[in-house]
Subunit: 430 residues, 2 copies
C-alpha cells in the first residue's frame, strides 16, 4: 500500500476548484481524523491556462481526463464535470472499473445512471459516493442510509432547489416580478447565468427526488413519468394573493409510497405561512422524512454553492478513508426492488385556480357551473375587479379533487372569449 | 468467526425492552443491509418475572449483568440501564475490556466517563457508540462526526430536552400553570413519574451539551462549571408577557467557542415567535450547527421515547455490523485537546427582568436608578398594576449587559420591602 492516498479531481469549475483548495487547506485535519495522508496527484479540465480564483498546479494538469486515468494510479476520484452522461459517465465508469473510489456531486448522472454505476462499484468492491448530489451541505443521504437506516420510511419531501426558493422568497419580499428577480439571482450567482432552465422547470429538484426515493425506499431509481412543474409560470400576482390567504408558494419535491406504489413529483405548492416548510427561505434547502418508529425528522441547511457542496464531498472522502460502507445505495443492488408507479391521475389536492376574465355578468356562474359539472366543489372565492380595464381576477380555492378531474376541467376554459388566459393552477400542500 | 453476531441487552426498561422487540422484528432487514445475521443471546435486568409489554425469552435471562459477561461471548452489547456510573459503568468497562462493542443511549454515563471509556474502546479496538444519547432519533452525532466532519464548527445549540419543551409549549397553549402541566406530562409519559428533576433543572440537557461540544470542537469532555438553569421557576405569567412581546420561552442548550475558549450553558431563553427555534414545539428536539464552509445546518426530530431512541440504537448497530468507524469521538482520544473555559461572568445578553412590587410611587424610579448604577440600560418597560391587591408587575427589557453585572444588580433587590419577591431573570437569545 502507498504511503499516500492518491486523489484526482476531474472538472475545475466552481465546485471542483473550491474542493481542490479545501483539500490543500485541510489535509492535516483529514489525516488527524482518518490516519491517512492524502495527495492530489492529478487534476483535469478543458482549459489549462484559464484564469482561476485559486492557483492550480499545472504540472499535474491533464486536458484529457481519460488519459489521466490511463496514466495515473488514482485511489479516489472526484467527478465534478456535471454532465448527465457524456464525459462524466465515461470517467466514472472507467474509474470504477479501475477499482478507483468515486465521489461526485452530480445529481443528473446519479439520477440517470446511478443503478448501473452502483452495481459497477459493488462488483469492483469500491465506493461510489454522492452525498453532495442532494441538498448541498445537508448530510441527508448519509442520514437516510445510516442514521435512519432501520426505519420504515413512507415519505420524503422538501425544498430541494435553492435557486427557485431564492426567487420565490425574493419576489415576495421585494415585490418584483419573476424576470427581474431571476436577473438578481443570476447576479448573485444563485442561478446559472447562461441557462437556468434546469433549476426553474423543476428538473434539478426532480433528479434529487429520484435519488432520495431510491435511498429511502430501497428501490431502483425510477423512470416513471410523473408530474414535474417548475416556477416559470408563477406570477407576482399569485404570490400576493397567496400572502393575503396566509399562504406562501414553495417548489416542493415529494416522494411517497402510496399503496405500495411510488409517487414522485415536483411542483409549486401553497403552504401555510405558519408551517415549518413555509418558513424555509432564500437559498436554504430542507428535507423532511416520515418514518416508523422515528417519526418526523427534518434536516435544513444551505442547499448550494461551493462551500456546502465541498463539505459534503469531504464527508464522502472521510467515509472512504475511514473504510466505511461499500454499497452506494445502502443495500446491495441485487436487493433493490423495482416499485410500481402510482397513477398520478389519482393524485388529489385542494387547488388554487386563478382566472383572468372579462368583467361582465355571467362569467363567474360560467366558471362555477363548469367546476360543478366536474364535481369540483368550491371552498372559497375571491373576486377582484379591475374596473379600468373591464377585467376581473377570480381566485377559487377548491376542496380536494383528483388531478385528472382538474386537468380535464381546466381544459374546457381554454377557448372561451370571456376567459382572457388559460387559468393558473397551484396545488395546496396538505 | 461466528455465523451469528451475538448480542446482549443489559437493562429492560422502556428503552431496552422496545429495542429487544425491534431486533426481533428487524433481523432480516438488518441482514439485508449488512450481510450479517444477528442473534440476541443474553438479556439482563433486575427482575426476571416482572410483567412486561413484550414477552422475553427467560432462558437467556441473567439477573446479574457481570455474570452474563463472564459466561457469554458477546460481540455487541447494548447498555440500557441508564446510570451515570454504578452498574452502567461497570458493565461498559468490562465489555470493552472483553473486546465487545458497546452501544448506549446513556448521556449521563458518556458526559461523565465518556473520555475514559472512549480511550478504553480505542485501546481494545472496538466501537463505543452513543448516537441515542443526544436528541433521540435525530442522527446528530453521526452528522457531526461524518456528514459535517471537515467543517470548522464554532457553535452548536438547540432544544435538547423534550420534557421541558413539552411543558413550556403546553403552558402557553393551555394557559395552565407549571405544576398542572408537569402532571399532564407525567401522565402522557413525557416526564419521569417519580423524579423529573434531572429534566426540569437542565441537567439532562447539559449532559447533551457536553457530548455535543466534545464532538463538534474535538475537545475532551469539559468539566467546567457553567450556567445551568432549568425551567422550574418559569411562571405562566412570564409566558404570557413574553407572548405579548411576540416572544416565546425555550430551554436552550448552547455550546460555543468564543476566543478559543469553550462556553457551555443551559438556560431558558426568550426567542422570537417568528424564529425557527421559537417554533419547535412539544416533545420535538432541534440541533443547529454553525460552521465553515457549510453554513448553518438544522436537524429536527422527536427527541425522546423508545421509538426514536431505538432508531438511533439500531443505526449504531448497523454502523458496527458494516464495519464502520472505530473512534467514538470521530478522532483519536490522544488528539482531543483540553479547551479553556470561557468566563461566564463575561457572558452578555439582553435581559427580561420581572419585578413584583408594591404599587406605590417611587418604586419604579428605585429600580431604574439601581439598574443605572450598574450601567444596565433599559430598552423597554411594561408596568401592569394590580389595583385590588395594591401590587404591580414591572417588566424591564434591558440592552445587553454582562452576567456578573446582572447578578450583582439583582442581588441588591433581595431585601427591599417594596419588592415582593426576588426578580425573575430570563435571557433574550440573540
Amino acid at each position: 500500500m502507498n504511503k499516500f492516498t492518491n486523489i484526482a479531481i476531474i472538472g475545475l469549475g466552481q465546485i471542483g476548484l473550491y474542493l481542490y483548495n479545501e483539500l490543500r487547506l485541510k489535509s492535516s485535519e483529514i489525516e488527524n481524523k482518518t490516519g491517512k495522508k492524502i495527495k492530489v496527484i492529478a487534476i483535469s479540465a478543458k482549459n489549462k491556462n484559464k484564469k482561476r480564483k485559486f492557483k492550480i498546479n499545472k504540472r499535474i494538469f491533464y486536458s484529457n481526463a481519460l488519459k489521466l486515468l490511463q496514466e495515473k494510479k488514482i485511489d479516489i476520484l472526484f467527478e465534478c464535470i456535471g454532465q448527465s452522461g457524456g464525459m462524466s459517465k465515461k470517467v466514472v465508469e472507467k474509474a470504477l472499473k479501475n477499482r478507483t473510489h468515486v465521489i461526485t456531486p452530480n445529481k443528473a448522472l446519479i439520477a440517470k445512471h446511478g443503478d448501473y454505476l452502483a452495481s459497477l462499484a459493488e462488483k469492483n468492491n469500491v465506493n461510489l459516493e454522492f452525498e453532495a448530489s442532494v441538498a448541498g451541505g445537508i448530510p441527508i443521504l448519509r442520514s437516510i442510509k445510516e442514521g435512519l437506516a432501520t426505519n420504515n420510511l413512507k415519505k420524503v419531501y422538501g425544498i430541494l432547489n435553492g435557486t427557485t426558493n431564492y426567487i420565490l422568497t425574493e419576489m415576495e419580499n421585494s415585490n418584483e416580478n419573476f424576470e427581474k428577480v431571476l436577473k438578481k439571482a443570476q447576479h448573485f450567482g444563485y442561478a446559472e447565468p447562461g441557462n437556468p432552465k434546469l433549476d426553474l422547470n423543476g428538473f434539478d429538484a426532480f433528479a434529487k427526488v429520484r435519488i432520495l426515493s431510491a435511498l429511502a425506499f430501497n428501490n431502483q431509481i425510477s423512470e416513471h413519468k410523473c408530474i414535474m412543474e417548475g416556477i416559470q409560470n408563477i406570477d407576482l400576482k399569485d404570490i400576493k394573493i397567496a400572502s393575503q390567504l396566509n399562504l406562501r408558494i414553495k417548489l416542493l419535491g415529494i416522494s411517497e409510497i402510496i399503496n405500495n406504489q411510488l409517487f414522485e413529483t415536483v411542483h409549486p405548492c401553497l403552504v401555510s405561512k405558519n408551517s415549518y416548510i413555509g418558513n424555509v427561505s432564500g437559498v436554504m434547502n430542507a428535507v423532511i422524512t416520515q418514518g416508523r418508529p422515528v417519526g418526523e425528522t427534518i434536516l435544513q441547511g444551505e442547499g448550494a454553492g461551493p462551500g456546502p457542496t465541498s463539505s459534503s464531498l469531504l464527508s464522502d472522502l472521510l467515509s472512504i478513508l475511514r473504510g466505511n460502507i461499500r454499497m452506494p445505495f445502502g443495500i446491495s443492488h441485487s436487493k433493490r426492488k423495482k416499485v410500481k408507479p402510482f397513477n398520478s391521475k389519482n393524485y388529489t389536492n385542494s387547488l388554487y385556480l386563478r382566472f383572468e376574465v372579462k368583467d361582465k355578468s355571467g362569467v363567474l356562474s360560467l366558471i362555477t357551473n363548469r367546476l360543478a359539472k366536474y364535481k369540483i366543489s368550491i371552498k372559497r372565492i375571491i373576486q377582484t375587479p379591475d374596473k379600468k380595464n373591464k377585467k376581473a381576477t377570480i381566485v377559487i380555492i377548491t376542496h380536494k379533487t383528483s388531478e385528472i378531474n382538474a386537468k380535464n376541467c381546466l381544459y374546457i376554459f381554454k377557448n372561451n372569449k370571456n376567459i382572457l388566459k388559460f387559468p393558473t393552477l397551484i396545488r395546496l400542500y396538505s
